[in-house]
Symmetry: C2
Subunit: 260 residues, 2 copies
């Protein structure tokens, strides 16, 4: 869309709400604006550059769950597909990842197949993150394709035989891809987001490290900002509940920036 009027045109075709998106450099909700009705058009247009960025609109997708799949493509066209996970976003940012996704096996199978076909369609080598919407009717839609290792695959470091990172390197070097099977029945990843401006080193790290089975990752960014991804915690478990309890217990100790 090249003008606010075209957003209104799109609404006549797709109905409200719409999502206005920048064509480039969007991530973590940046470059997106929800347009719930005609009264939101001017604000959304202004927020996304008032014509200085190329924009498009998308039909609103009422989903019941978000799923994600990491797929690695080798130089020889081989592919490695990781377990289907459920992602929970908060304020447009990945917040929790549940592996495997608590969905029926056939649904998981369809999601994996769709993810693999999506990545194959665009070509390329390495690890890709495929974000999916699951609708109330059981339809699976591709939401976004990230041509790189992805936040929804950080759990693979501890939870899978070969991580998305190792498989990315194997793929780029033309080496055989590693096994993507999980080494535990369940894994949960919790993102550590900045609470506000501050140093990149968190408070509470030692308390978090004292939680048995919690794998705490701090990215070493120089400064924290509100909502910035500063690290994550992964825990394995016999069940998703067990893994989640461990990960949350560790994550709640940690704080990056903001008032303490």
């Amino acid at each position: 869309v090249a003008a606010p009027a075209e957003i209104a045109d799109a609404a006549r075709e797709f109905g409200w709400p719409l999502v206005l998106k920048a064509r480039r450099n969007g991530y973590d909700g940046k470059g997106n604006a929800t347009v719930r009705g005609a009264e939101d058009i001017a604000g959304a247009w202004e927020k996304l550059g008032a014509g200085r960025r190329e924009l498009f609109v998308e039909q609103w997708c009422p989903f019941v769950k978000e799923l994600a799949v990491i797929v690695t493509i080798g130089r020889d066209g081989s592919s490695a597909v990781y377990p289907v996970v459920e992602t929970v976003q908060r304020d447009h940012i990945c917040h929790r990842v549940f592996a495997p996704a608590p969905v029926a096996a056939d649904l998981g199978g369809r999601a994996a197949t769709l993810a693999q076909r999506t990545v194959a369609a665009v070509g390329g080598i390495g690890s890709f993150g495929v974000e999916l919407f699951l609708t109330a009717e059981g339809t699976i839609l591709v939401n976004e394709l990230a041509p790189r290792v992805h936040n929804s695959g950080h759990y693979t470091i501890e939870a899978c035989v070969c991580s998305q990172f190792e498989n990315h390197v194997r793929a780029v070097l033309g080496w055989p891809l590693g096994a993507t099977a999980m080494v535990a029945p369940a894994a949960v990843m919790v993102n550590l987001l900045g609470a506000g401006q501050g140093p990149g080193r968190p408070v509470g790290l030692e308390a978090a490290l004292a939680v048995p089975g919690a794998h705490v990752h701090v990215y070493g960014k120089s400064v924290s900002a509100a909502g910035r991804k500063m690290g994550h915690v992964t825990a394995l478990g016999a069940t998703l509940d067990e893994a989640r309890a461990r990960a949350e217990q560790a994550a709640q100790h940690i704080r990056f920036g903001g008032n303490t």
Copy 2:
């Protein structure tokens, strides 16, 4: 011992064979010589520096198994004890590690306790490798104490919640120690030794990486030499047999140096 005659004196007290050892800088069989009778004294004395190194003799220990335990000691005196493993040496060099050691639970418990006490006795902070002998009578003796991360603990990278390396860093930084529990029922590590002079990059790496579940580590040493530790392979499994089959299958593809 300061002279060849003192080796003969020791034999009158301990019987043959004896082991002549350098007091410093011994590893992987270097700095050791087995003295099976009086006729071996001159050769062993010559091999270990002919008086230029400080030496001692040890009574021969007829063992039925070698066990090892990694123990990490934190700054606050806390300790983390890893599973008791069986190590199999070839030519005085660690060749295979089986985790957990296939021994009775009470024996494993005694080994762990002895290892923990041994490390506590010498003081120090960080990960230690404790090598043990198991005799036919079920006695456990301390063979060697390595004041550092140890080859017998490389399996912990993939097989334990927190590896000997991460726990070493946690210990030195004064952080809480991580959990040492295994994430799979069994793990086997196979050392990759140089077959002779050659580059540090092996042949057969890709074939090894194609073995599902095999974790191949190449140390990046610049050159290979006969018997030099150039890397290792670890595999997890539901049983030691399964883990061993995977690790051996990958390891047999790899060759460092020597005639191919």
